[in-house]
Symmetry: C2
DNA sequence: GTCTATAAATTGATAGAC
DNA sequence: GTCTATCAATTTATAGAC
């Protein structure tokens, strides 16, 4: 019943391999041959599934988007929005070694894609990842009682802090920095929420 | 007396061109031919000044380091460390269009270089740029009266917030986000300093 | 659908005339 | 020191057998 390597699986396998290599080596340094080897697919065959390297990258980003949606859904099993946001803040700690060695898979990809041609669809696709974080945080903050505009502001601040923290922890190869600064972000968020509840708008 | 294009000038011109192109297109996408053309130097001649592309990149980073030292020296013409740090926070606003279109020249370069081979000297060189920011902020915070450990913590938080803000503003192409969130960082820092002065350690 | 072989283009680096 | 021409390697993409 489950054909372990039918064509759909191979396509998925290529995406999985590319996703991992893009994170570890970056988009530019990763060759189609690298991806093909990792996915145990002959080089020439890659183009049967993806016309160009760019098309493969689009599929990788779509897969990241899907992964984000699943993470959001999972965190929403908590009923308290503050608790949900805490899951977001702590998420990098669930993959410390990876974040320290390779940075945030979304943030670093995003920044690399930004250096492509101005009209590349990959730029917009990459940006949609960071936007997804902000939008989701925005929603959770509104559920906590913040007005839309304030919630937007806080969501941006939250995502910026998390991304900046990962960049520093990665660059300085410091898991301690990651843990320490994410705790700070968490404390800050709790404080903001508590302030709101003391003096509701 | 001033030979406009003696060999020292050409070398500097190549660095200048590479610095700009690395920022706009990234390290990988920038070819030696691009740099040569921008500096009005024949392609083959680039290797007279820099043996490899990597050596050119090292010179670019050294130039960034020098630029940072000059910026720090300039900001230190303010006597109040809080005012100095405010200059740091507002610096991106002095080059808004550039930051929005291309991101932070140091942060984005740093993240791209991280994707090179683990033992590449460029990785350490790039990291030294972000470290310079942290160290300088650390010093200023100590001058304000924070204990070394607290100052370190706050310095990391400050640089992370600035870097994260630039990443978001760049990715979302939003000068408004940049201005808004940097104001928030500024307000946060003022609050921290005021708190310390109300209850000195 | 799957694979091998190879074309076509790019690009870092070098050789050698001046 | 400066430049032209070119090599050598890499890599995306394609052609065509099975």
């Amino acid at each position: 019943m489950t054909r372990a390597y039918d064509s759909t699986t191979k396509r998925a396998e290529l995406i999985r391999a590319a996703k991992e290599l893009f994170h570890q080596q970056g988009f530019h340094k990763t060759t189609l041959d690298n991806v093909a080897k990792k996915a145990s697919v002959p080089l020439g065959n890659v183009h049967y599934y993806f016309e160009t390297k760019q098309a493969l990258a689009e599929a990788v980003i779509a897969s990241h988007s899907q992964g984000l949606r699943e993470a959001f859904a999972f965190w929403e099993s908590s009923t308290d929005p503050l608790e949900r946001l805490t899951h977001l803040i702590r998420a990098p700690l669930g993959a410390v070694e990876s974040v320290i060695r390779f940075g945030c898979p979304h943030g670093s990809l995003c920044q690399e894609l930004e250096k492509l041609e101005d009209d590349s669809p990959l730029i917009k696709a990459g940006a949609s990842l960071l936007l997804a974080y902000i939008d989701w945080a925005h929603n959770q903050l509104q559920l906590l009682g913040f007005h839309s505009e304030t919630a937007r502001d806080l969501a941006e601040q939250l995502v910026a802090a998390i991304q900046g923290t990962m960049l520093l922890a990665h660059t300085l190869r410091s898991p301690e920095l990651l843990a320490r600064q994410l705790s700070r972000v968490e404390a800050w968020l709790k404080f903001e929420v508590a302030s709101l509840q003391r003096s509701p708008a």
